[in-house]
Symmetry: C2
């Protein structure tokens, strides 16, 4: 996602890289001391071309703001607005009316009224937008208090620069997440169980108590906290909204909620920001497609359908993970049934790596994501899951690139054509270039041929063996004011890391992979499945017959 928005390299430079994770449990010979019980690669080999990194949410926020500011519309957020209420009247051109209280710097608040086609409430766990559409978070009562602090610390604990999961015998658990910059460390610290109906605020937990708890858990290691940059105490509770929009069976959605407004959970696996960005990316391209007149408003139903299911999985995962984290190690004295074997925890942790990395998201069949009938043609590019990138060589300039990095966050659908053993895509390209093809039908008059559906091709032939001059014309499209050739549509397998092998693409037949604007695989089809390709796009994109900019 960061690569698609053009700032992945800034994240890679600034972030802490989670390379390995260590596990600590009570020392069997001296259970009031912790001892290292395991050390693993944090991320399984081949999961992603990107490493697992940790970076302040504020920095990620900055990067997105930069993208907005530098975009063609020079967008900037309006700050200092508090949501008051909203109403919807479908007879109006702008059906949603939002009332906000605006507080200019140093001036008394004023009421503003905004008329909108669509509204997204990203206003957190106590979301006013969610309340206004009559929805609520439901779920577990919070009964476990946790503390979190970002600290500058001197310690003789040797793994202070590694992600470390520490279970003490009787004092609780600590999760150590080193932070970017080389010094700062985030510590998640287990505090007391809460009684029923007790809230964490009533416990009056102080910063010194937090530090003392961490010191007890990490004994015999010293923990000399020099500065607490930030700290907080929170309850773990997994709560979820049953629908992320205001639609009902007769009415299309106009108001959406995203992020914590729809799902809350412990911050333990770092999923808060990740899943919320996933919500927004899922919704963003759909709204843009509807507002541009490329797609019918009915596709908007898929946002709640897809993301609410993912949030449910997140909640389930988080509940199990938090429970395991809070349980006492089996080696603890007098431990009863409510215990966890640290080895089992470690195994669970490894298994859930894909979940934590966000790569296990799997959208069910819908108009946006077809069934898996032809999945055997590309077993490693699962329909409904993220497009799993692999290296390729760009033909025209011999540049080694990640194919997935060609999928920019520009709202375009992609057809990736993987050539079969004959290295021949002529028939497909002839069809896609014809008047009745989905590309021709969905591209507005005067627009570049790749402005709605972006066709890219990957050949099996080594790049030095393939002659540009033999390519179908559609793979060297003429674009822009001067009709200049776009040379960046065609790739060849990299013999060192062959995408056909890595993603189990059928070498004999090749295949078509349709990728959604949010990088999810929408369909895998045979190369000659012209009608199925057309049928797919007929469901998700509207034919362009003039100016379709709609309300």
């Amino acid at each position: 996602m960061f690569e698609a928005f053009g700032f992945s390299e800034r994240v890679l430079r600034e972030a802490y890289w989670v390379n390995e994770t260590t596990f600590w449990k009570p020392d069997p010979s001296q259970p009031d001391h912790i001892a290292r019980s395991g050390r693993i690669e944090d991320t399984e080999e081949g999961l992603s071309e990107m490493p697992h990194v940790i970076l302040s949410q504020a920095r990620v926020h900055d990067f997105y703001l930069d993208v907005m500011r530098q975009g063609p519309r020079c967008l900037q957020p309006h700050y200092n607005r508090k949501f008051i209420k909203l109403t919807r009247d479908d007879r109006a051109d702008y059906p949603v009316t939002v009332t906000v209280e605006y507080t200019p710097d140093g001036a008394p608040p004023v009421i503003e009224t905004i008329s909108a086609r669509y509204v997204i409430g990203c206003d957190g766990a106590r979301s006013g937008v969610r309340r206004a559409i009559g929805r609520d978070l439901t779920g577990d009562a919070a009964n476990q208090a946790w503390g979190v602090m970002d600290v500058l610390v001197e310690t003789d604990f040797p793994d202070i620069r590694l992600k470390s999961v520490i279970h003490s015998a009787t004092e609780g658990s600590v999760l150590i997440i080193p932070r970017e910059g080389g010094y700062l460390v985030r510590m998640y610290i287990e505090l007391d169980k809460l009684n029923a109906d007790e809230r964490v605020a009533q416990k009056n937990i102080t910063k010194p108590q937090l530090i003392a708890a961490a010191q007890r858990i990490m004994a015999p290691y010293s923990l000399d906290v020099k500065e607490v940059a930030w700290w907080s105490v929170y309850e773990i509770g997994q709560r979820l909204c049953d629908q992320f929009d205001d639609a009902d069976k007769d009415v299309s959605p106009r108001v959406f909620i995203a992020g914590d407004a729809g799902h809350t959970h412990s911050p333990k696996a770092g999923q808060g920001m990740n899943v919320s960005m996933g919500d927004a990316f899922n919704l963003g391209w759909k709204l843009a497609a509807v507002l541009r007149g490329q797609s019918a408003p009915s596709i908007l139903h898929s946002y709640s359908a897809e993301r609410q299911a993912i949030a449910q999985e997140l909640i389930d995962f988080d509940r199990a993970f938090a429970k395991m984290f809070s349980a006492r190690p089996q080696t603890a004295k007098g431990a009863g049934d409510d215990t966890v074997d640290p080895a089992e925890f470690q195994l669970y942790f490894q298994k859930q790596g894909r979940f934590t990395a966000g790569t296990s998201v799997h959208y069910g069949p819908s108009i946006l994501t077809s069934d898996a009938e032809h999945q055997h043609l590309a077993k490693g590019l699962t329909v409904g899951m993220r497009f799993h990138s692999a290296p390729v060589i760009r033909l025209a300039d011999a540049k080694p690139v990640q194919l997935g990095h060609m999928l920019k966050a520009d709202g375009r659908w992609r057809i990736l054509a993987f050539a079969g053993e004959n290295n021949d895509l002529q028939s497909l390209c002839s069809y896609l270039g014809s008047h009745s093809s989905p590309i021709s039908r969905t591209t507005p008059a005067g627009a570049d041929i790749d402005s709605v559906i972006d066709l890219r091709a990957v050949y099996q032939a080594p790049h030095r063996d393939l002659d540009l001059r033999d390519l179908p014309a559609l793979l060297l499209p003429k674009k822009g004011k001067y009709g200049l050739t776009d040379y960046e549509k065609v790739f060849c397998a990299d013999s060192g890391s062959d995408i056909f092998d890595m993603r189990e693409i059928n070498r004999t037949e090749g295949c078509i992979v349709i990728v959604r604007p949010d990088q999810y695989v929408a369909s895998v089809l045979p190369l000659n499945a012209h009608q199925e390709t057309t049928a797919f796009f007929d469901r998700v994109l509207l034919p362009q017959v003039g100016d379709r900019l709609i309300r």
Copy 2:
């Protein structure tokens, strides 16, 4: 260098990557048509961890300006100043007086006088600063006219997105350098030989003539130029200044020249910006060290000594390369002695790859760069040449990093201690931590122990086998306001790409590698060469005995 200044990833994202180079010569069966005669990897394997890339000088300029602006001093250039004259009076605190004409926007010019300790003239081939210190460029007369243009072009030439060297039979030569962004192409086009004393300006060469020449050379391929973004016509001349400062045998330098002010040549191998940045990087840290009171002004003599020699090599290379480029191919009809075998050109091109990449720079022995007596301890880290990076694993956080990327542009010297087979650096660290060591003697009171000389260690042991707690204290220095441990000094060999193998470091004995602030290897010494280490730093760094900030 870009990595040391913190913006290499921006260059990598934006630049055109030169992955392969093709060679074209007259088709033997039809010599008025060109045909591809060769295709090679542009850069030899292992030359650098960075690829060969092409990016507009204006963008690189922007990146440096960003670094200046975001630095602690928030530096910004003063524009709109024209150099008028300078005088030097060594009796003054600020010995150099510079007169400039300042033209505020929309206002008449005013004369400004600047008093300076040091002045650097980066004012190009017609440098006023160079003239003011009585130096001149001397060298070959220009007798070959070349044109250069950045164009948006439609063509059926298949290698338009590859760096391509084209020799036609009778129409001259073209060098194609694709530019960043996917469309723009730079073309260097050979024009007529100039008569003696004829200047290119007298030829009145026009843009259409340039395009027509390119079209003739590239026949039978079409070349439909849609837009010329920029173009110029220039003479090839190699000219050099014999000294890059105003020193004589009795007087230390106060005024320097850098870049085109000291050396001009054809732009063919892309060396203009590269060598000029090398000039500035060489001089910058020396001036800073003198101004901070870390080094004696005598080190400033080394700037001209080192960089003038490099410029001479550049000129020699450029002369040979330009001659070879302008020569007619041997296959041309009626070609005489003044010809070049395209195969020989290609071979020369490959051989000179190191030169073009800037990695062949080799400074001779001086107080900054010792002799090669102990070179056998690290054969791949040549004294006087750039520190050739290799991958390592950072011990504390298991992060795979390039060791060379730890060498930031912060004016610090580095001692890189490569442990021998016993993985023991205790003796060296005890010495370097002692009161009489160069580190102790050159670090100002109250400053962090690594603020002048930055000690880093590389062990042969796999990183999981080495315990942080067993390290010498000097490798876990306490720094800053809180005395926090710096965990980023220690690395281990990466078993997949072992730096000891890659750089031929003696595994039995290990060694010390002293690296200059500009990333050049200053010395290779045995691990127990305590006195030699001290003697080296005694020559280049002053002991700190109070406030040494000098004029």
